[in-house]
Symmetry: C2
Amino acid sequence: MTARSSGPGRVTLIDVATHVGMSRSAVSMALSDHPEIAARTKERVRTAARELDYVTNSAGRALRSQSAGSIALIVPDTGPLTFGHPYFMHLLVGVTEVCSGHDANVIISTNKDENSVAAYERVLRSRAADGAIVTVARVGDPHLSSLVDSGLPVVLMGRYPQFPDAVSVGIDDLSGARQVTEHLITEHQRRHLVHLGGPLGHQVTIERRKGFRQALTAAGLKPTKKVWTGDFSEESGRELTRQLLASGERFDAIFAANDEMAYGAIGVLQADGLAVPRDVSVVGFDDFGLARVTTPGITTVRIPAEELARAATERLFQLIGGVDPPERHLTLPLELIVRESCGCNG
Amino acid sequence: MTARSSGPGRVTLIDVATHVGMSRSAVSMALSDHPEIAARTKERVRTAARELDYVTNSAGRALRSQSAGSIALIVPDTGPLTFGHPYFMHLLVGVTEVCSGHDANVIISTNKDENSVAAYERVLRSRAADGAIVTVARVGDPHLSSLVDSGLPVVLMGRYPQFPDAVSVGIDDLSGARQVTEHLITEHQRRHLVHLGGPLGHQVTIERRKGFRQALTAAGLKPTKKVWTGDFSEESGRELTRQLLASGERFDAIFAANDEMAYGAIGVLQADGLAVPRDVSVVGFDDFGLARVTTPGITTVRIPAEELARAATERLFQLIGGVDPPERHLTLPLELIVRESCGCNG
DNA sequence: CGGGATCCCTGAATCGATTCAGGGATTCGG
DNA sequence: CCGAATCCCTGAATCGATTCAGGGATCCCG
């Protein structure tokens, strides 16, 4: 049983120093294994520290050493891609894993009020965190721009062509979208494909649409006239599909910008008497969990979110340590996950 | 456009003080709206601070004011109920919501290595966080015990009979389990019910089993001999169901300890040629997302996770502020969510 | 036994913000 | 016109840990 102070967390370096009859500088050096402290002394100090249940005060350390010992994970708090989304769970798992290896804490910072000074900027400027991982940001976000320019250690998740010098970790949305679209064309002979896109202002929306178009063009098909724009929510998948049905446009396959929209689409199609995949193939993007458990299972493109997060966090620690990562942009491979909603595994 | 310092975050109180030609104490007081500073001075100081892009250094403030301005959310990192689970997403949403209202940061702390000094204890002892919310803990966890005894501000999520004095926020698992079991008995005339339980060592496992038994007893049915123990994972739901089928025991309904186990069970039953809910009713617990999207949809008991988190966080801030919540234990109501897997809505 | 090298530790400064006793300047009452 | 009250601000101490120049003690060698 360890000793317990009456006031919580009240044991300081001085208490330990008094206990062993030394200066607090010596104690500090002993605990950090400084070479100019005798081995026997170190042992004595460590024992005393353990007995007194000493824990370094993080504010004191942070103030003196000018480093907080924590990083911020910045997550949006507006729109449907808020951090109730499983994507962030996966990211969080990866981030914390790497952080615990670096003895760092993770601070969750939400990017809530778009008009005020962004909360996440304060977190960094106040030095509550040594660096930040930005998970989702709109293409023209002015705060992001100022954050990137500020020179503070920041790693972006995703592709940000407007910040060629920022360090980022992402996936090749374009190629993923192309692959899954090609799958519909070549494996299932679909010829009338519709893409239900994500929200405007996000790079992934642009890329996935582009990949979709490239696949069509390569196969000699022409893209539909109308551009369908959703917001990544299941409800927007439903809404767009209802509009699609109402429009009278002929289609035999839907590529939704993510799995939730695909799921919404499937529901509406079935309610309309159309069978998936018999009458219409439906595919999505993400594979964060939903696509696996629905009936039919949704064919999709798996984003290695946890791995992305690990890579981003490693890079952030490099940046914090003053090392510039060799390549500024890292792109992780995607995987086509074939289930039933496209027409396979029937 | 605000001014930008060359070194990041390098503007201190002294810089602002120099700029307005005053002492840094006055500046500090002006910025915190101290009554003994002239209104005009305050305005001048605030303007200067804005111009210089001054942000209070959190370590300096934390050191002096003896409060970190952040709370820790402690999440387990062992077993299947790790924080990749949607439960924690919901909690996180509620916690951050309340925290942003209190201008506090959220630190995620994982409870990884069971043998070493718990990481989360360090977070509190080092005063990196002013208090903590413990989301899941095993019944006999010695670290939890020492944490609760330490007198640091801690709120537990769930029921912890072994800590009658600890502040906690939870649900009535027993009654929820009883309700859903009664539903199977009275609405669907099931007579041979099996409960696939959660992991031993967790209070919820005990309570849900008890509720199940109470419902059986009240209906004059006798519980099955064997106690089925899983670990909340889909795989354990599958495994237990396979064993159940192999055992030859007669059953017409399964109450799984959570939705994931229920989902696993449904898969195995269907693979065995049994129809759900026609041949076997299956119900779960949680309703964190999965139960809604499966086919059939899983009848379950909804845990108001976000609301739990909000309540817990409010209470934690009370504790930190020195206010003892009137009742130490808060229990939020559960809701029976009827879908198809029990036999309703067919 | 003396001088230099070596080993280990001490004292003081520092990180940035906050608080509070104290006091200079102004105002007010008589 | 003087003393007291009032208003605002300054200076110094403090929170806890870290770093580094400096120096006392010990040891080694000639």
